[in-house]
Amino acid sequence: MGSKKKKVGMGQWVLTGSMGLYALICLLPVLLVVVVSFSSNESVQHKGFSFFPESWSLKAWEYIADYGTQLVTSYKVTIIITTVGTALSLVIMGMFAYSLSRSVFRLRGFLSILLLVTMLFNGGQLSRYIIYSSMYHLKNTYSVLILPGCVTAMNVIILRTYIQSNVPEALVESAKMDGAGEFRCFWQIVFPMMKPALASVGFMRAVNIWNEWQDAYLFINDDARTPLQLLLILIEKNIDYALNNAKDIPAAEYMELLKNLPQETCRMAMLLTALGPIMVAYPFFQKYFVKGLTVGAVKG
């Protein structure tokens, strides 16, 4: 394998072809969203969703630019919770992972168990919902979108394993000899050395917050705090609601209503604004999370 002198056999071509085909299938839905968002609405009504529309149009994007105030608000919310949430997550989990990696710290055994139990047992959605909403009063707060997922066992294990296998304990000890405290050792020496692991965990965390919809769905009903994914849900719901309740009204009004609803093309354009940033950021982080995933598999 891998020798270039060998003639490329038939099997290789079939393999490459089928792998390429499957890779393309993975991309197609995104492509469909892009194409539909630039199609004319008439084309969708007439020819259906298609990769090859009858006519192109920028209407959907104009509509978004004109009426997209809620979209802008939601974008802001999502960007805030993603950046703050990811940064907070990395610092808090980084410190935790560091203290778990220090063999002089005897409490770490107990703390590791405390962490592992969260992988084994959880209270389930219902008690989580009741406690967050009626005990902590977290409805309509940024906190409920940021804090609950801030520390996860898998990520802490990845970070700790990374420290243990890439930062020699002697380095920390010698820094301490020179008079640095534990926190300074962590912040100035270990944290910068963790960059690849932080990039991997950080990207996964950022994607999770960006794509998270369930907590927003459960806890947020304030327009000013509505993140992108929830906005997409609401758009879909409002259309269904409008259509279901409009059956009895006169046909002319019904047509008018249909006209004013966000059209398929607009919805796809909105979807694309929500997908875009991840698609753009993804290639830059790919090599890191492949590494991170493999590190995570090595049990710490």
């Binding site: 410190m95 005897r106 209270g123 902590y136 369930q214 849900i233 879909e236 796809m268 290639p283």
Partner: protein
């Protein structure tokens, strides 16, 4: 004990560095575990969780009274878990072997990147796209059916095809990412093994059958066992969003988690829901601990604890 206290005092900076994470775990994870008592309460929001009156095992009684629903939810939850585990494992391995065997390494890298991409698309977005395929009249599949001289098929009124649809969506979304782990095992296999086999006259299939696959078996076992803990949990994005939480499709698509989410959103009586989640948590716990016991017997170094 005294030594531990002394050690902790000596390393108090480390203790304080761990503290924020520990507090978050307690507030957002351990307290909700205590909240499982709701299964034994006659819950109402005015009294709150801990002041609501006790209700004994009455909530669990509901579970048997609505035996049909309980059976359907259990069947769907476990059924999909099994289907997804099997298709996922086969898909992961197929993709990993395919990528690994490709001579064009650069292309293989690009293909892999493309295959991982769906993992990062939110289920909300996936739901939109699935609808674009399945919608009446203008959906891609119905267009195709009509073009071939067939009739429009109302996917959203008919539960029949949904197990297949959900499996396809789940596989499409997960296997590129899932194959990364298997690929890391494959790249670690010693090439001398293949060369020795080639000298003995083994062809590609034989090498695959007698070297590659056996090498992957430990990883398959570990991944399957680790997954067992999630047997009662399903992806609500898939079962709630992609199906549009459509009541007509519940027969083949509703699972425990999407049932609970639906119950919370429509604020129906929490009694039965609480009992159901309680069972869910217990089964999950038993599965993980049981699995771990088995793993420790088979390969101690892979055990979680």
């Amino acid at each position: 004990m005294k030594g531990l206290l002394k050690n902790t005092w000596k390393n108090r900076t480390l203790f304080f560095m761990a503290l924020p994470a520990v507090i978050l775990l307690i507030i957002f994870h351990y307290v909700p575990i205590a909240g499982l008592v709701v299964a034994f309460k006659k819950f109402n929001f005015t009294d709150g969780l801990f002041k609501s009156p006790w209700n004994g095992f009455a909530n669990f009684g509901y579970l048997f009274k609505v035996g049909d629903t309980a059976w359907r939810l259990t069947r769907n939850t476990i059924g999909y878990y099994l289907i997804f585990t099997i298709t996922g494992t086969i898909g992961n391995i197929a993709i990993a072997i395919g990528i690994n065997e490709m001579i064009f390494k650069r292309a293989a890298k690009y293909f892999q990147s493309m295959m991982i991409l769906p993992t990062f698309i939110s289920y909300i977005a996936v739901a939109f796209v699935v609808k674009a395929f399945l919608q009446n009249e203008i959906g891609i599949i119905n267009r195709f059916l009509i073009m071939m001289g067939g009739e429009n098929y109302s996917f959203y009124l008919n539960p029949r095809w949904w197990p297949l649809i959900l499996t396809l969506v789940k596989t499409w979304k997960g296997i590129g990412y899932g194959s990364v782990l298997y690929l890391s095992v494959l790249t670690g296999i010693d090439h001398a093994l293949y060369e020795a086999a080639a000298i003995d006259g083994a062809n590609t299939w034989q090498k695959l059958r007698y070297i590659t696959l056996p090498m992957l078996v430990p990883m398959v076992i570990v991944m399957t066992l680790l997954g067992l803990g999630n047997i009662m949990h399903s992806d609500t994005g898939l079962f709630y969003q992609v199906t549009q939480n459509n009541g007509l499709l519940y027969e083949t698509t509703q699972v425990l988690d999407s049932y609970v989410l639906n119950a919370i959103m429509s604020s129906v009586d929490f009694g039965m829901t609480a009992a159901a989640t309680f069972c869910q948590s217990i089964v999950g716990f038993v599965m993980v601990v049981g699995t771990n016991l088995i793993v420790r017997k088979i390969s101690p170094e892979d055990a979680l604890f």
